[in-house]
């Protein structure tokens, strides 16, 4: 009976390392750049004052450090839809694909929506992905500060965030992390509303979820 559970468990190696396109479309962003600085979304404003809803990830009290060095809580993302992914910079297999999937998603967003959605990459590799390493990754992969935040945190806090996102992971001998390939759409309140599981998936469902989040956010949000 249980054998079904174990049938076909394999961890797959998606070894295609895609070259990543560059060029985040800052020019398409209709939103005025906050305070004219180059700070990423995580680090522009003070934390949301609104009380998080019961299913909001923004209840988490854990503290994260951005690649620009600022310490923030996830609540800073309150008010706008967010696409969240766990990754690590030295990933040889799937993360480059995941990140390019996110860029594809960003490009698939209709104009108005594109300026309204933020992306956050949170590192699993708490030991090696220092803010400096993340900053380098941002530069290398052309992740503009207009919409992309890169965060690193404490191992326990990553484990907790992963648990909330349903992401399983473990570190192997060579320091690679085997992990679920999932990206998650959070609405303006920080509730999980959609997850795309697997690499190279059609971004349509995520786009639809983000549009809805945008509409709902407009009704209630800031």
């Amino acid at each position: 009976m249980k054998s079904r559970l174990f049938h076909g468990m394999r961890i797959l190696c998606v070894a295609s390392i895609l070259g990543l396109g560059v060029g985040v479309r800052a020019k398409d962003d209709p939103r005025p750049q906050a305070t004219g600085t180059n700070l990423p979304p995580c680090c522009r404003r003070a934390e949301a004052v609104a009380k998080p809803t019961d299913r909001s990830l923004y209840q988490l009290e854990s503290e994260w450090t951005s690649d620009v060095g600022k310490k923030v809580r996830l609540g800073v993302f309150h008010g706008r839809p967010l696409v969240l992914v766990l990754f690590f910079t030295q990933c040889e297999y799937a993360c480059p694909v995941l990140v390019s999937d996110l860029k594809r998603l960003q490009e698939a967003l209709p104009g108005e929506l594109r300026g309204a959605v933020d992306f956050a990459l949170v590192s699993l590799d708490t030991a090696r992905d220092t803010p400096e390493v993340l900053a380098r990754y941002r530069a290398e992969h052309g992740l503009g500060t207009d919409h992309w935040s890169l965060l690193t945190g404490k191992a326990d806090d990553v484990r907790e965030l992963a648990a909330l996102l349903g992401v399983n992971y473990r570190r192997d001998q060579r320091g690679q992390f085997s992990h679920s390939n999932v990206f998650t759409v959070l609405d303006a309140e920080g509730e999980v509303i959609q997850q795309t599981v697997g690499l190279n998936q059609d971004p349509r469902d995520a786009v639809r979820a983000l549009s809805k989040a945008r509409r709902d956010g407009k009704r209630t949000g800031p």
Partner: protein, 284 residues
């Protein structure tokens, strides 16, 4: 949302055949002579052989000596915790951190029910991973890692390697083959293992800190495209010991869990690092 969930009750046969009361050397000194709290036992350093691994992963994971509670956390103990931490009371707990049904067998926020005295001695169940983690840190402790838990549970009644002890092996198999009964036995009804730890097998499933490190889906039915796309990593993996059915069950359960789940036969116990550096001991 997760189809694996419907199958959980089947997956979760806990076992209840408790062998007669038998107390081992509970809370004894470890080989290094470090005194433990009476409710903790020292688990000597050892290795855990993961059931599944990728070629990149070691066959054996070294586990440092640590302390483990000799029995699962009881409802009575958990009641103290929610008394002191109102946010973890049944009516206050946020859905993100505990599914509906959290402490669902209690009569109220601070009320175990009519048979409160009996219940107080039974293991607390219907607690999410977040709740278990919060309890542990309130106690100044932590949840054991899966490797630590598996290492502790591998010890037999009389030998460090339970697999080499026929009596232990058959007791464990019997336990895992017996459906869970409605009413859980009080903790420590089961025979202690070599280290003085009770109920690792035979009472409830237990949360571990890194239960979500298993890269096995709870709902794998074959090599569908999506399964292959699920995980990053390398190569296929094979089981280490195909004969260790209970280990398959634990691994299967863990991989099907989500951190907010609450189940009628899933509880937890806490662990604690050994005090360090230990008092100058001749053995080190």
């Amino acid at each position: 949302m997760n189809p694996a969930r419907n199958r959980l009750p089947v997956a979760c046969r806990t076992l209840l055949v408790a062998v007669a009361l038998w107390h081992g050397s509970v809370g004894a000194l470890d080989s290094a002579g470090v005194p433990a709290f009476p409710d903790l036992a020292v688990i000597p350093a050892g290795v855990h052989r993961p059931l599944f691994r990728t070629p990149d992963e070691p066959k054996e994971i070294p586990v440092a000596a640590f302390q483990l509670e000799i029995s699962p956390v009881t409802q009575g103990q958990f009641l103290e915790f929610v008394r002191a931490n109102p946010r973890w009371r049944r009516s206050n707990a946020k859905r993100l951190f505990a599914d509906e049904g959290y402490l669902g067998d209690w009569s109220g926020d601070l009320d175990l029910g009519p048979d409160a005295t009996a219940r107080a001695a039974r293991p607390v169940t219907r607690v999410s991973w977040f709740a278990a983690k919060a309890y542990a840190s309130w106690k100044g402790r932590r949840l054991p890692t899966t490797s630590e838990w598996e290492l502790a549970s591998a010890a037999g009644f009389a030998r460090a390697d339970g697999a080499a002890e026929p009596e232990f092996r058959s007791a464990v198999r019997r336990w895992y083959g017996t459906p869970a009964s409605e009413v859980l036995a009080p903790v420590r009804s089961g025979r202690a293992n070599l280290h003085g730890v009770h109920d690792l097998h035979g009472l409830v499933w237990e949360w571990t800190s890194d239960f979500n490190s298993a890269l096995v889906t709870g709902d794998a039915r074959g090599d569908t495209g999506i399964e292959r796309m699920l995980f990053c990593g390398a190569g296929s993996q094979g089981a280490t010991d195909r004969g260790d059915f209970p280990a398959f069950m634990r691994s299967g359960l863990r991989s099907s869990l989500k951190a907010s789940y609450v189940l009628p036969n899933l509880g937890f116990r806490c662990a604690l690092d050994l005090p360090r550096p230990s008092v100058s001991s001749p053995s080190r």
